[in-house]
């Protein structure tokens, strides 16, 4: 049995293919203007790499903000559901997951089978999502990678007054003009955002183990700030960006067996 999960995020599309119980292939690409064409292209590439054709896939489930834009998926499911199923498959001891994507973030608590107990979501405001850090990196004219590294070299943090990404851009530019150390500005941006992620996460009862996933989990500077603020250890699984797609592919297998 071969199943596929497709996670259509705001910025990128993640595809993961499972044969029986093992991951066969995975791939991701950026979302371009033509949404459906981008999804098709990324899916086709992932199939081709695995030496498969569309007909070889028994069941496809889409998830993510754009899950309804995958015409070739048999069904779709929410990211909350897929994240929980995906992480339990990969890291069975995890009970709470924090997923920070480009345009949204969520915290999910679930049981050992991946059944969701509680969750909290932010998908309305960029201040609590990856887009916030990206906007600040753009304002400082550095790449996201540089931004992350700079923050790890910081000596202190300064409060960023603006919560809104649009206002914070101006504030960051002002800080640069005032010749505030760039390292410290980057650290402050991460700290400010970590604070918002933590307050969202603390709406749940936090049960160990905790995992952080999503594209932002790859930002070491941000993870450092999050660790300090959360005051609890968490794991960052390998393939942290693919947890939703993995969950969708696992769910597809469960649907087949029904």
């Amino acid at each position: 049995m071969i199943t596929a999960g497709i996670d259509v995020g705001a910025k990128s599309v993640k595809v993961l293919i499972i044969k029986d119980h093992d991951i066969m292939n995975k791939g991701m690409g950026f979302m371009e203007m033509d949404r459906e064409r981008s999804i098709q292209k990324i899916f086709d590439k992932c199939l081709a790499e695995a030496g498969l054709s569309k007909n070889d896939i028994d069941y496809i489930i889409s998830t993510g903000a754009g899950r309804k834009f995958v015409p070739f998926a048999q069904s779709n499911s929410t990211m909350v559901t897929c994240d929980a199923i995906g992480i339990v498959k990969l890291e069975p001891s995890v009970r709470t997951l924090i997923d920070i994507g480009a345009n949204d973030a969520r915290a999910v608590r679930f049981d050992e089978t991946g059944k969701v107990i509680d969750f909290a979501v932010n998908e309305k405001c960029a201040a609590g999502a990856g887009a916030f850090v990206e906007a600040m990196a753009r304002a400082m004219e550095v790449s996201l990678e540089e931004f992350s590294e700079l923050s790890l070299k910081a000596e202190k943090t300064i409060p960023i007054n603006a919560q809104c990404a649009i206002f914070a851009e101006s504030e960051v530019v002002s800080l640069v003009h005032e010749e505030t150390a760039r390292n410290d500005i980057c650290r402050s941006v991460h700290d400010a955002m970590a604070g918002r992620i933590v307050s969202m996460t603390k709406r749940l009862l936090l049960e160990k183990d905790i995992a952080v996933v999503g594209g932002v989990a790859l930002n070491k500077g941000m993870m450092d700030s999050l660790k300090k603020d959360l005051k609890m250890d968490f794991i960052i699984p390998k393939d942290a960006e693919y947890i939703g797609a993995l969950g969708a592919a696992v769910l597809a297998g469960q649907e087949m067996n029904k």
Partner: protein, 295 residues
Amino acid sequence: MTEHDVDKEYWRWDEYHWKDPDRNWKDAKIISAGVDVGSVSSQAAILTDGELFATANMRTGHNSPDSARRVMNWALEGAEDMTLDDIHYIVGTGYGRLKVPFANKAVTEIACHARGANFMYGPTVRTVMDMGGQDLKVIKCDERGKVLNFMMNEKCAAGTGRGMEVIADILRVPIKEIGDLSMQIDEEPPPISNICVLFAKTEVMGMLYEKMPVNVILAAYATAMADRVSAQVKEAGVEKDFVITGGIAKNRGVVERLERILGVKSLKTHVDYQIAGALGAALFGKVLYEKSLKK
């Protein structure tokens, strides 16, 4: 597209200074001034015996004291040979009010907007909605322009002038043309669905890609903004007479849609809507100077 177009700053609104040609400041007994250093724009207003004599309106820079100095100097530049020393009393207001180096006193922008609106529109004003660059204020006041109560949103760019600037830039439409353009539509499109300006920006890019006409996108954004603002003011309520101040007051696309949703028309005036805060500060300046003389 020429290279010039790439650099064009569509968000940039007109900066100007003005002087009443019929007044001679040397005849005045009291000269007072107000400087409103906002997060996006700064204004200065100079009054001679309580009447508007000169104004200036420009973008705020990165440094508040410097912005205060620049806008005050620009107003003075228009005011014949008046110098800072000729002004008896200066009041600072706005976000940067404590950083106006030459001010005699600072007064909150809430008090100044109510006072300024009372002067601009008359004593019947009861609700002042200030739609500024980075915040939204709804102020209730009495017939003397005294604040009764107010609400303020300064957390989020949705519904603010800064949000509109972002959209102007992405659509490459000069900001002062947005209001008229957004009214040139056959029927109202559904509003932009994202509240967050950063996300709305992406949504607008998608609409452009789908070849949606720019005026339709502007209408969709203006409606979203009017919806957002009306939701925020619902609690405070809007009592007549109702006026809108701040930069967005110049955008009829937002103003007319907001009036439609709220079911109430706003009063209009010939005085620059952005000057209300500085004008109110200058009026306070006059009163404070008179008080100081009595001591």
